[in-house]
């Protein structure tokens, strides 16, 4: 038990050291992208892993966050520091409205409506040309300088600098989600997931707690989308492609849904792995989709989290028993 905070501190130190060790721009890029995915996927774990609803709208929330932030930058000259919270807030609100309709449904209906919603949002991004420039997308997004009290203004456009922004955001997102799932709210998430009619019969509103997970998850996806948009400097309707939600689900499900740590590791591994397997890029989605289906059917706890817990000493495991 006491080893856990030490291990966490070591991991954070190691993550902070990455830009000092890794000078290859391409690998730094992969670290930054995995950090962005960590944030989005933690949000997805709340809804898929903790309350147990398979949402296929998550990548759309990510893309909507990217677009919101990009539009605020292009049209109103808002910097990312204002655009990111605004994107999280707006997309959170949209999730609230969407959720008030679809969280009353369950199972296949819920899944289908989330797909339809995502496709609809893609159509908006594509066809509202006056606002979004359609297929041409919105280029020219910039990373703003960072002002730290006592230190002054720092230019963070370099990858080795922007990495720390993403790392910080990912750690904040992780701590936020962890506090949520360990609170009484998170306990109710799990009760709803384990037996919804029973939880309702004992006084827990499945609707309310699914909604909390859905909205917080959407806001996190939007924040991740905003970071991503400013980092790559460009948004286009491609962000709404179905492959994004597939890869996010792979990260959550193979990582070990309902554990936070598993999906976060999944985000890193499944950002690097496909890039390292570039040769086979044509086969990538097919291979991954197959892995996803097999894992869903035969490995309900995923691969990564169970693997880690087997490698970790037994007395450390107990702490995470509840989360699993």
């Amino acid at each position: 038990m006491r080893g856990l905070p030490v291990a966490a501190a070591l991991i954070v130190v190691a993550l902070c050291a990455v830009p000092l060790v890794v000078h290859d721009e391409y690998f730094l890029h992969l670290f930054i992208v995995s950090g962005v995915f960590v944030i989005a996927v933690l949000g997805l774990d709340l809804i898929v892993g903790y309350v147990g609803q398979l949402s296929l709208a998550h990548a759309a929330f990510f893309a909507m966050g990217a677009y919101t932030s990009a539009l605020l930058f292009v049209r109103l000259k808002w910097s990312m520091w204002a655009g990111l919270p605004a994107a999280a807030l707006l997309v959170g609100l949209i999730a609230l409205v969407l959720g008030s309709v679809i969280l009353r449904t369950r199972g296949h209906r819920f899944i289908i409506i989330t797909v339809v919603f995502a496709e609809l949002m893609k159509l908006v991004a594509t066809n509202w040309v006056d606002m979004t420039r359609g297929f041409m997308g919105l280029p020219g997004l910039a990373v703003p300088p960072l002002w730290i009290p006592g230190i002054g203004t720092i230019d963070i456009t370099a990858k080795s600098h922007f990495y720390y922004v993403v790392l910080f955001a990912a750690i904040v997102a992780f701590l936020l989600c962890r506090a949520l799932v360990r609170s009484s709210v998170g306990h109710k998430f799990v009760l709803v997931r384990e037996n919804e009619p029973l939880a309702e019969s004992l006084g827990i509103s499945a609707f309310r707690y699914s909604m909390i997970a859905f909205v917080v998850g959407a806001a996190l996806a939007a924040a991740a989308g905003s970071l991503y948009a400013h980092y790559v400097g460009f948004v286009s309707p491609d962000l709404f492609n179905f492959s994004y939600v597939t890869i996010m689900l792979i990260m959550v499900i193979l990582g070990g849904k309902g554990t936070l740590v598993g999906p976060a590791l999944g985000a890193v591994i499944f950002t690097f792995l496909p890039e390292l397997l570039r040769e086979a890029s044509h086969w990538r989605m097919i291979v991954f989709a197959t892995i996803l289906i097999v894992a869903t059917l035969f490995m309900p706890k995923g691969i990564i989290f169970p693997l880690i817990t087997h490698l970790v000493p037994r007395n450390w495991r107990l702490r995470n028993a509840r989360a699993a």
Binding site: L191, S201, G203
Partner: protein, 244 residues
């Protein structure tokens, strides 16, 4: 004084099937009301109406003189009207304390785990608190269901065949438990096929047949009611049990 819980003229139709046809009932604190009747009579449907899972086609349910038949199930539970299910419902994968804490969490109790342990102690499962629900025997799972309901701090507790499938010794534990809960001032509504259990602990019994209430009164009175005996004629064992 109005009853703690009252059902007035409850009628339910499922398409062409009239599951309940204008059933009245009432129960007060410290009282055990049993609801009996042949299979398919409408007993579980009555529970579903009282707990908000099924909307009555006609009639109303009043709790402390306020209508509750338009409320969501979780609201009704929060008010203190809590049920168990005919088919065992537990949080299988979770440790007992975490599942039983549900009802205490739902009413924002400051120490849900402690309430859960108290409820487990009441039903005699404290010693097994480290197990998960799925690891318990069937009989213990049925006791666990009662603990789950108790942690929600019910004023009215509805038990749907809590002793079904239990051996004699296990059903004795259920009887003792119900007697203990009644002594605490709970109103208990019990659906039970085991006539020995019903006749031992009920203060009042209502009999439903094809959705219709055909008798209402003290156990002795109901046992000798001609219509009740007739209703059970299709099921000789039950008729025998009632007449006994």
């Amino acid at each position: 004084m109005p009853a703690l819980l009252e059902g007035r003229g409850i009628a339910v139709r499922f398409g062409g099937v009239a599951a309940l046809k204008g059933v009245d009932l009432s129960v007060d604190p410290g009282e055990v009301l049993s609801v009996i009747g042949p299979n398919g009579a409408g007993k579980t449907t009555l529970f579903n109406v009282i707990t908000g899972r099924v909307r009555p086609t006609q009639g109303s349910v009043l709790y402390r003189a306020q209508p509750i038949d338009k409320l969501a199930p979780f609201r009704i539970a929060q008010l203190g009207v809590v049920r168990t299910f005919q088919k065992t419902e537990v949080f299988g994968a979770l440790p007992l304390v975490e599942g039983v804490a549900a009802g205490a969490l739902a009413r924002n109790d400051p120490d849900p785990a402690e309430r859960a342990r108290e409820a487990l102690a009441t039903v005699g499962l404290y010693g097994k608190a480290h197990l998960t629900a799925a690891q318990l025997s069937y009989g213990d799972q049925r006791l666990l269901e009662i603990a789950q309901a108790l942690a929600a701090d019910p004023k009215v507790l509805l038990l749907d065949e809590p002793a079904s499938g239990m051996n004699h010794q296990e059903s004795r534990r259920i009887v003792d438990l119900i007697v203990q809960l009644r002594a605490r001032g709970l109103a208990v509504i019990l659906v039970e096929h085991n006539m020995h259990v019903v006749m031992t602990i009920s203060d009042r019994v209502i009999v439903i047949n094809y959705g219709e209430k055909i008798a209402d009164g003290k156990p002795d009175h109901v046992r000798n009611d001609a219509r009740v005996i007739e209703a059970y004629l299709g099921a000789p064992q039950a008729a025998h049990a009632v007449a006994r």
